[in-house]
């Protein structure tokens, strides 16, 4: 798994970790059941605070992307699990709302928007 | 508790010997060695033991104070806040250094005086030897008992200065008292002198035991008071 921290992006470091781990899980690079690097090891290697990594892992656990097992570590959850599904749906919805807002501002009709959505959906491999 | 005191003692010894043990050993061995050497070549040198004891006494008097000098150098006193030794144990450790110096002094005086006697008369008079050792030890204990609390309270230089002022002050006070009596009641001086003479006569009758015990008692009490004052000062100290 690739994890890079940018100090100039302005995005908080824990967000960067979260986003990159989530992306790795979603694109299948991290498989269900796989262990994430240990908190302290990752903190040491990325040269960041242990608490920052803890926060990223905890928030990923709240999203249902990973699971903390006390004393064992943090493991990737199955993509099909309900919590994660809900999270992803919510995320998709948020992005759609934004798309609709922009479309309305630009006077794009619902039909055109649907066509665009369908096209984009086809383009990306599942 | 013991371990704390042992650590404090060991650290003070390290402080005192920071410039190396060599010079200290040379002086400690040098004085008795000079007596023996001079004595064996030229026979009885009556003033030598006194000179040697004076030198040893002066050096040993300054030795425990070196712990203060080095402690006050840079931020070495901060080390006292780092090491796992309670402050009271640090004070005890320092008084143990004085104790160790007393043992060394006793040994040195015994060797110097003893050697002097051997070269003088070919034999050792043990009671006279004991008196010499005891006198040196009591005087040393009294001196250090005053100096150590002064060093805890002031910087090393200030402490020595204070000590000097105390000596001058005491001397001046005694002189003043005598002068006053001599002027107001000359008879009292005569009385005092005759009293001292009679005291000397009495004590010569009692032998050396009572004055010796008195000396030891005086030294012990002074040392105890000195320790109490030192720990009070040091426990309240802020680095």
């Amino acid at each position: 798994m690739k994890l890079i921290i940018s100090s100039v992006s302005g995005e908080p470091i824990y967000e960067q970790i979260k986003n990159q781990i989530r992306a790795s899980v979603l694109n299948g690079e991290l498989k269900a059941g796989e262990a994430l690097p240990s908190l302290r090891k990752l903190a040491k290697e990325l040269r960041i605070s242990v608490l920052t990594v803890t926060r990223a892992y905890n928030e990923l656990a709240d999203e249902g992307v990973v699971q903390n097992i006390q004393g064992k570590g943090t493991f990737v959850m199955d993509k099909g699990n309900e919590l994660m599904r809900n999270q992803l749906e919510a995320q998709a919805l948020t992005n759609l709302v934004e798309a609709v807002r922009v479309a309305k501002a630009a006077d794009i009709s619902l039909d055109d928007l649907e066509t665009m959505l369908a096209e984009e959906y086809q383009k990306l491999p599942s | 508790m013991m371990i704390g005191i042992r650590r404090a003692f060991a650290l003070d010894v390290r402080r005192i010997t920071s410039q190396g043990v060599f010079s200290i050993l040379v002086l400690l061995i040098g004085f008795p060695a000079a007596i023996i050497l001079l004595g064996s070549t030229s026979g009885g040198v009556s003033y030598m033991p006194g000179a040697a004891i004076g030198g040893v006494f002066a050096m040993l008097a300054l030795l425990p104070l070196n712990a203060f000098t080095f402690e006050q150098q840079g931020q070495n006193n901060w080390m006292n806040g780092v090491i796992p030794v309670r402050r009271i144990h640090q004070v005890i450790g320092r008084y143990l250094v004085v104790g160790a110096c007393i043992l060394i002094l006793a040994l040195e005086v015994a060797v110097c005086v003893g050697a002097g006697m051997v070269f003088e008369s070919g034999m050792i008079q043990f009671s006279a030897l004991a008196i010499s050792v005891l006198t040196a030890v009591v005087m040393y204990a009294l001196l250090e008992s005053v100096l150590i609390p002064l060093c805890y309270r002031f910087t090393y230089q200030k402490a020595l200065l204070t000590m000097m002022l105390i000596c001058i002050g005491l001397g001046a006070a005694i002189a003043a008292v005598f002068a006053l009596f001599a002027k107001l009641a000359p008879a009292s001086i005569d009385a005092l002198i005759s009293w001292m003479v009679s005291l000397a006569e009495i004590t010569s009758g009692v032998g050396v035991v009572w004055p010796a015990l008195g000396g030891v008692f005086l030294a012990t009490v002074t040392a105890a008071v000195s320790f109490a004052v030192s720990s009070r000062i040091y426990l309240a100290k802020e680095f």
Binding site: S7, G10, P12, I13, Y14, R40, K41, A43, K44, R47, I48, S49, V50, L51, T52, T54, R55, N58 | G4, R6, R7, A10, L11, R14, R15, S18, Q19, F70, Q73, G74, Q75, N76, W78, M79, N80, G81, V82, I83, P84, V85, R86, A236, E238, F239
Partner: protein, 308 residues
């Protein structure tokens, strides 16, 4: 988070110290859980060193309690210091001691002295056993103190401005060492610094003291997130901004105001019709540790300017 369950490496409650000079370290309370690094920050004279001296019982506290690894720092002083590694901003060894003598003096002080570990650090730091303390550079003296602090199995490291005499490489190395040190989750570090770059990297917690009082203590991320920097032109400094700002820096072409994140909503200038933020006269951005220190220490100045 799991922090609350961890035992405390350091727990300070209501620590107060008054100096006759008038300076008072007032009612300082914070906890450092075991396994983390805490940065103690604040401008010079804020009371950082006073606090560290209180932990070490080098000065007398007027009130409050200090526990190290659950032990009272005065009642259990020997135990506490056995488990404490200390580094000051300048050497506490006698200058004429050689590095070797430093070990011979320090080794008997600790039950758990580890000669091999000390030797390892000497090699790693490039410290020559024959060199005298006074011949070492300031950075090397710090490393020597660090080597001693790390060689007796201490559970808590207390470092007072350890990086002030170090170059970038040495500071980076120190942070590496500290992160390694806490990697087992049981050892902890409290270090005071005014170089915030050190904190950005390794500190988990921040305790911020200014003018003798505690301004913030908690996770570093929370510290930075609890403030926002509001910026605007010289005419945009409206009463609502002044009302909530904890510190304002004004310059000819504009101003920076430090605002607590929860007060951001009270500033009208940040909002504009249609929720279009880029149209608003003011902008709000995240505040760095330096911004926070800088602007929380101009409070009086800002106030004085209002009066005038």
């Amino acid at each position: 988070m799991t922090i609350d369950q961890s035992p405390m490496a350091l727990s300070i409650t209501g620590a107060t110290k008054h100096y006759d000079s008038g300076f008072t370290l007032d009612d300082i309370t914070f906890d450092l859980p075991a396994g983390y690094i805490m940065g103690l920050i604040g401008p010079n004279g804020a009371g950082k060193s006073t606090l560290i001296k209180l932990i070490l019982n080098m000065i007398h506290r007027d009130s409050g309690e200090i526990h190290v690894l659950g032990l009272d720092n005065i009642a259990d002083e020997e135990n506490v210091k056995e488990n404490l590694g200390v580094v000051f901003d300048s050497s506490y060894f006698i200058e004429t001691w050689t590095v070797n003598k430093v070990e011979r003096a320090m080794a008997p002080m600790y039950l758990a002295w580890d000669h091999a570990a000390f030797d390892g650090y000497l090699t790693r730091f490039g410290l020559d056993r024959k060199k005298r303390v006074k011949e070492l550079s300031r950075g090397m003296q710090m490393k020597l103190m660090l080597a001693v602090a790390l060689s007796h199995d201490a559970k808590l490291l207390v470092l007072d401005e350890p990086t002030s005499g170090l170059d970038v490489l040495a500071r980076d190395e120190l942070m590496d060492i500290l992160q390694n040190y806490i990697a087992d989750g049981e050892r902890s570090v409290l270090f005071s610094t005014h170089i915030t770059a050190d904190l950005e990297r390794a500190a988990d917690f921040i305790t911020y003291i200014t003018r003798g009082t505690l301004y913030f203590t908690g996770p570093k991320d929370e510290f930075e997130e609890s403030f926002r920097l509001v910026k605007g032109g010289p005419e945009d400094l409206a009463p609502d901004v002044k009302g909530v700002a904890v510190g304002i820096h004004r310059y000819e072409t504009g101003f920076d105001a430090l605002v607590r994140a929860e007060d951001l909503g009270k500033i009208a200038g940040l909002k504009a019709e249609d929720g279009l933020h880029w149209m608003a006269p003011l902008t709000a951005e995240s505040a760095s540790i330096d911004d926070i220190i800088r602007l929380t220490n101009t409070g009086d100045v800002a106030h004085a300017m209002e009066v005038a």
